[in-house]
Amino acid sequence: MRFFRYLRRNKRLAAGIVILTFLLLFATVGRLIAPPERAYPLAVPGNKPPSLEYPFGTDSQGRDLLATIVMGTYLTVRIGFLAGVIGLAVGTFLGFTAAYYGGPLDTIIRWVVDVLLTVPGLLVLVVIAAIVGRTLNPTSLSLILALLAWMGPTRTVRSQVLSLRERAFVRVAKLSGENNLEIIFRELFPNLLPYLGASLVGSVTGAIFASLGLEQLGLGAMREPTLGMTIYWVQYYGAFVRGLWWWILEPVAVIVLIFMGLFFLSAGLDEFANPRVRRVV
């Protein structure tokens, strides 16, 4: 109940949660209406505009677009989420290590993060994905994305731990004889949670962005109906020139919703983590 009352004040968090819950419902309930097998080529007659039988229409490869978008939402969000979670886990570990132990380890981690953050990540992913080649599937794609999803969290966690460990309550804990692990898990971690949440949303957003980018360049799981692949096929089959407007608008609308949901969620989490911050929207 308190949570709902808080949501009324933090409108952006509420908007993010509503949009993402809606998408989640769409991806789960949609499966019951549109069986996943229909999301693959030659399942239904092609190029049909939306009708009662096919509410989202069908594409040139003979996929039922309702099933395709439902599956695509699930797959794309899963790719991003998996990569984001791995990135956050690695980043949290490295950030803690760097900030808590300091010294040369900190210097090395900071340098690697600095170097990698200056490189446009998508290009590195292009090279890796091009080598893995045509055997990519959604899981391997998210593992590749995870390779570059940990720098942001590392930086956030490191700076937060650095500022937290100087606070009075950590000193008190130290003086009262808590060991390192106890301090990390009992004192630092709970205070870090909102930042970890915001970091996770950031990594997931970045990973989804990168996955769509790779798929746009033709480096995705070619056989799977992810949202990015759907957009790739839209261009491959010239849906614009042929006027198949439903095929274009549906994946675009869902992608826009995903990014807006994540954006509002992260803005809301920022406000939750740091209420003093001035509202930006």
């Binding site: 490189v119 292009v126 980018g213 360049l217 675009v252 992608i255 930006v280």
Partner: protein
């Protein structure tokens, strides 16, 4: 102090390039595939030859390209090539080198990137400044939310929306390409108008998406500057509002935006690559897209390396220019 900063900053660039080159060298060698053998077997089967002798041929070619030498020797030679920016030959457009391929398209990319970057930076900053200025019209406030929302969407997805409404529905702009097929690039006025018409939609999608970020950053800085003592003094002196706005507030708030420029560069380039490939705009992004499509390995590695190099150099230049512009943060001084 300045020298130490310069050295460190330059070291960072070298580290980036070395990492990129090393990855480019070792990653392909991690796969068990042997491109030479594959190509020769392919040629042999299409010519109807028997398999005998192929092993010797593979050996001979490997010796010719230096692939029989120990890995560290190959690696050093590769690093040497990269230092001389020798990216090797394209695998699919053979007599052409990767550098020649890049040379053919780089002008298009630089042209559109420079224009979009400049316009989005200028318009965004002015907009942000106006939003933060207490005396500007109220309706500007309502722009913040839609601008921020648009900027959360990738540029090329937004480009799809623009294509749908402005090219497909309204037919105001052409859907793709860099110029109408069949036109002769004769440098005439009509040709340039045609190019401009084709460049507008891709440029617009990048500009609109990046506008929000610049506007927001500028607004934040303006609010900070408006609280400074010298602003109160200037107002008390009775200076005109226009002068206060342009000479006192905007000039000071603009400086940190330039740091933002360096940070946003990588992101902008990525967005641009995808937008180019969406619109079939004949630039680097489309070259990369095409290379992936025909699996021209050398071109993929070369193009990515060159983009990483240029982003790195641009960021370095911005970082070095910044202390010159803003005396308050002469690096390392006062420490």
């Amino acid at each position: 102090m300045r020298a130490a900063y310069l050295l460190k900053r330059f070291g960072l660039l070298l580290a980036v390039l070395w990492t990129a080159a090393t990855l480019n060298f070792f990653l392909p060698r991690l796969t068990p595939r042997n491109p030479i053998r594959e190509r020769i077997v392919q040629l042999a089967t299409s010519g109807g030859y028997l398999e005998q002798g192929i092993e010797e041929m593979v050996k001979a070619y490997e010796a010719k390209f230096g692939l029989d030498q120990p890995l560290w020797k190959q690696y050093l030679r590769y690093l040497g090539d990269m230092v001389r920016l020798d990216l090797g030959y394209s695998l699919t457009a053979f007599p052409k080198t990767v550098m020649e391929l890049i040379g053919e398209v780089v002008g298009w990319s630089i042209g559109i990137a420079a224009v979009t970057l400049l316009l989005s930076f200028l318009i965004g900053s002015v907009l942000g400044a106006l939003i933060a200025w207490p005396k500007s019209p109220k309706f500007l406030q309502y722009l913040v939310a839609p601008l921020m929302t648009i900027s959360s969407v990738p540029a090329y997805i937004f480009g799809l929306v623009l294509i749908y409404f402005l090219a497909f529905r309204a037919k105001i702009f052409p859907m793709m390409g860099g110029f109408t097929l069949g036109t002769v690039p004769d440098g005439s006025f009509a040709y340039y108008m045609d190019v401009l018409k084709h460049a507008l939609l891709p440029a617009l999608s990048v500009i609109l998406v990046s506008l929000g970020g610049w506007a927001l950053g500028m607004r934040g800085m303006m609010v900070t500057v408006e609280g400074e003592d010298y602003m109160i003094l200037a107002e008390a002196k009775g200076l005109k509002s226009n002068r206060l706005f342009s000479r006192y507030a905007v000039r000071n708030a603009l400086l940190p935006q330039i740091t933002g420029l360096g940070l946003a560069l990588g992101y902008l380039v990525t967005g641009q690559i995808l937008v180019e490939s969406l619109f079939g705009f004949p630039g680097i992004g489309s070259l990369l897209n095409r290379s992936v499509f025909v699996y021209d390995y050398n071109a993929i590695l070369g193009v990515t390396f060159m983009i990483i190099l240029s982003v790195g150099v641009m960021t370095l230049i911005l970082d070095l220019i910044y202390p010159l512009l803003d005396p308050r943060i002469r690096t390392g001084e006062g420490k």
